[in-house]
């Protein structure tokens, strides 16, 4: 037991260290808190993508070959990070100062840190303790990982569990990695799911602080997101929806920050994270493509920041194209899998057919919205999400210059995309006349809504900035500045953000 746990933790640490070095290589300089938030999703996503490519070209997956791949990847990322570090001049704002400023006072830091740490520890214990006990977790994500580990190839995944090779393999290859090194006896691979929740919470918190949300509100907002029952359950049940929503949200927020602060490396990192999203769930490309398009369009047409399309799109396409080619080659649509829950692939497969057929009826749209609202208003499902977000939106009407700020338009656009997409997917699904469509909706819509959940929370709280710097004395300052940022210096703030965080 202890040995398995130690092996599992070693895998987590190795993947996270790789992620940290990758983030350093891309961003140059950052804060340890930001690196911590990016570490696991970035390291695991890129490593499993490399393993996938190597396996596709015929390299057998064994503990040795995975270790060698990870070692080469880590060495390459470390070298690149060091080269990048030497290219950047030291500034007055070292990373530690940046963090202190970004997290508020000492008591807020300690309180936030403790409460969040306890919550994440509980998530880790429950996640591992309950093992894989949900249908998709057992029959899809875990089993396929075990099959790949036993067969030594991603192609072996076809014979195990549901979906054939229709689903992206990020989570499955992570499970396979845990299996190869420690046997997944605990199962230690379930450590990975709460890590995504921790990562996205940190990423959202830092985004709020970067865009001047008050420390106390940002800290409580983080706890609001993490304690939501649906979100917490998805951090422990072994489904890929939370990892997908987390990576997507991190990609969006990094992208908005990068565009707003004219930061090319950050936009590259955003593209990489969105690409990992495509590599995590089959509907990933349906989210990543319009989100990237929205970032580019708003920056270009709305003149809100500066976008570097090549930096943003090249990693996104680089990660997506090989997977989509592979998926296209090995695609199968089996009625048994659909019956057993392969609804995402069915909806995507028939998206064009559904649109060309005039879509589904308005009554189905009403049904989807009604059922979601019914569930969202019950505290045991979505907690306080709907009332709190509604009240925050209402309060934002009293906040200063809320809708004029450049990040808001991006957040609104992405929130709309993340709300419309799951509704559209279920509308398309409804045209198949599944006999238990309402059951499927009740069972599955919550998890499809997770990206929208994160984005609407981010938007609602970002709308509420302090009126003046006096109400937020810990907001990031210019290096050497004694008085902090004035209320009207948003442009200067973003330039500074770009420098401190770029």
């Amino acid at each position: 037991m202890i040995a398995s746990l130690l092996v599992g933790l070693a895998v987590v640490v190795a993947l996270s260290v790789f992620g940290v070095q990758l983030a350093r290589a891309i961003l140059g300089r950052s804060t340890w808190l930001e690196l911590l938030g990016l570490a696991y999703p970035l390291g695991s996503g890129v490593l499993t993508w490399l393993l996938f490519l190597l396996s596709w070209i015929g390299l057998r997956m064994t503990a040795l070959s995975v270790a060698a791949t990870a070692a080469f990847a880590l060495a390459g990322a470390t070298w690149a990070a060091e080269v990048r570090r030497k290219l950047i001049l030291q500034s007055a704002s070292d990373s530690r100062r940046g963090i202190r400023e970004d997290t508020g006072g000492t008591s807020a830091r300690v309180g936030l840190g403790l409460a969040f740490a306890v919550l994440m520890l509980a998530a880790l214990v429950i996640s591992v303790g309950r093992s894989y006990a949900a249908y998709d977790a057992m029959a899809g994500w875990a089993l396929k990982g075990y099959g790949i580990a036993a067969g030594g190839s991603v192609l072996a995944g076809r014979d195990w569990g549901m979906w054939g090779l229709n689903y992206p393999l990020n989570i499955m290859l992570q499970v396979a990695t845990f299996r190869l090194f420690g046997g997944d006896l605990l199962p230690e691979s379930k450590l990975l799911f709460p890590l995504y929740l921790a990562s996205v919470c940190l990423g959202i918190f830092l985004f709020w602080r970067r865009f001047r949300v008050a420390p106390a509100l940002a800290a409580l907002g983080l706890m609001l997101i993490a304690t939501n029952p649906v979100v917490f359950i998805h951090a422990t049940n072994g489904y890929a929806n939370l990892p997908f929503a987390a990576v997507l949200t991190l990609g969006v927020l990094t992208g908005i920050d990068g565009v707003a602060s004219h930061d090319q490396p950050r936009q590259f990192l955003s593209g990489l994270l969105l690409g990992i999203g495509v590599w995590t769930r089959p509907e990933g490309i349906l989210y990543a493509a319009p989100i990237a398009a929205a970032l580019v369009a708003i920056a270009r047409i709305g003149r809100k920041g500066k976008v570097f399309p090549l930096a943003l799109l090249s990693p996104l396409l680089g990660l997506s194209i090989p997977w989509l080619l592979f998926a296209g080659t090995h695609y199968e649509l089996d009625p048994v899998w659909i019956q057993q829950g392969d609804t995402a692939v069915l909806a995507i497969t028939n998206l064009l057919k559904g649109i060309s057929a005039g879509g589904a009826r308005l009554s189905t749209l009403y049904l989807i919205v009604r059922l979601f609202l019914e569930r969202a208003l019950l505290p045991e499902n979505w907690g306080a999400y709907l009332p709190v977000v509604a009240l925050l939106f209402a309060l934002s009407a009293f906040a200063r210059r809320t809708w004029a700020r450049r990040e808001i338009l991006y957040l609104v656009a992405v929130s709309v995309i993340t709300i419309v997409l799951p509704v559209a997917l279920y509308l398309v699904l409804s045209i198949h006349g599944l006999p238990d469509f309402v059951l499927v909706l009740r069972r599955d819509f919550d998890r499809a809504y997770l990206p929208a959940y994160f984005m609407t929370n981010v938007l609602a709280i970002t709308l509420l900035q302090p009126r003046t710097h006096d109400q937020d004395p810990s907001a990031p300052r210019r290096p050497g500045s004694q008085s902090g940022m004035s209320a009207g210096s948003e442009e200067a703030h973003l330039d500074e953000v770009g420098r401190v965080w770029g």
Partner: protein
């Protein structure tokens, strides 16, 4: 209008705080506490056993039977299930619980032909629940009982078995 003392940010902070408190209560009472207790009770069980015991479809009885299969068969065994509905007809879940054994769903009309196609020394026909035994069990198949009174258990096929009389030769 909101007064100077009651700024939107302060009000928002208070609303979010209330939301957090409500969610912590719900999360603790509905999820952390019951799941914590269940997991603690099962702490000595293996990962696959906890999967079975905590899943809504298997529970203690079926998990115990799956344990019986795992203990009676080698990891390269082929397991034939003939159920047409219920958890024992869900191949992906059975693959998970019995990994790395090969699981075959033999639910065709012609069970005899299906079973014959898999004939071999490491092949078992699984009879998991009380009721009529599977059709087409070849002559000479060895019965490994799980619960004798229910006639549940495993039929171990042999590569040399004849199959002229389904069920014949079974004790």
């Amino acid at each position: 209008m909101l007064g100077r003392r009651l700024s939107p940010v302060k009000l928002a902070t208070a609303i979010v705080l209330l939301g957090v408190l409500l969610q912590v209560y719900v999360l603790y009472s509905d999820y952390l506490s019951p799941w914590g207790r269940r997991i603690w009770d099962l702490r000595a069980r293996t990962a696959w056993e906890r999967s079975g015991l905590l899943s809504p479809w298997f529970g203690a009885e079926r998990t115990e039977f799956l344990g019986f299969i795992r203990s009676e068969t080698s990891s390269d065994a082929v397991l034939i299930f003939t159920e047409r509905s219920g958890p024992y007809s869900w191949r992906p879940l059975l693959q998970y619980f019995l990994f790395p054994r090969t699981v075959v769903n033999c639910t065709d009309a012609n069970l005899t032909a299906c079973i014959e196609s898999e004939l071999g020394d490491g092949v078992f026909v699984v009879h998991p629940e009380r009721g009529p035994e599977p059709e087409g069990i070849p002559l000479g198949a060895r019965f490994i009982p799980y619960r004798a009174e229910d006639r549940t258990g495993l039929y171990q096929l042999s590569g040399h078995s004849g199959s002229e009389e389904p069920g014949a030769g079974v004790p």
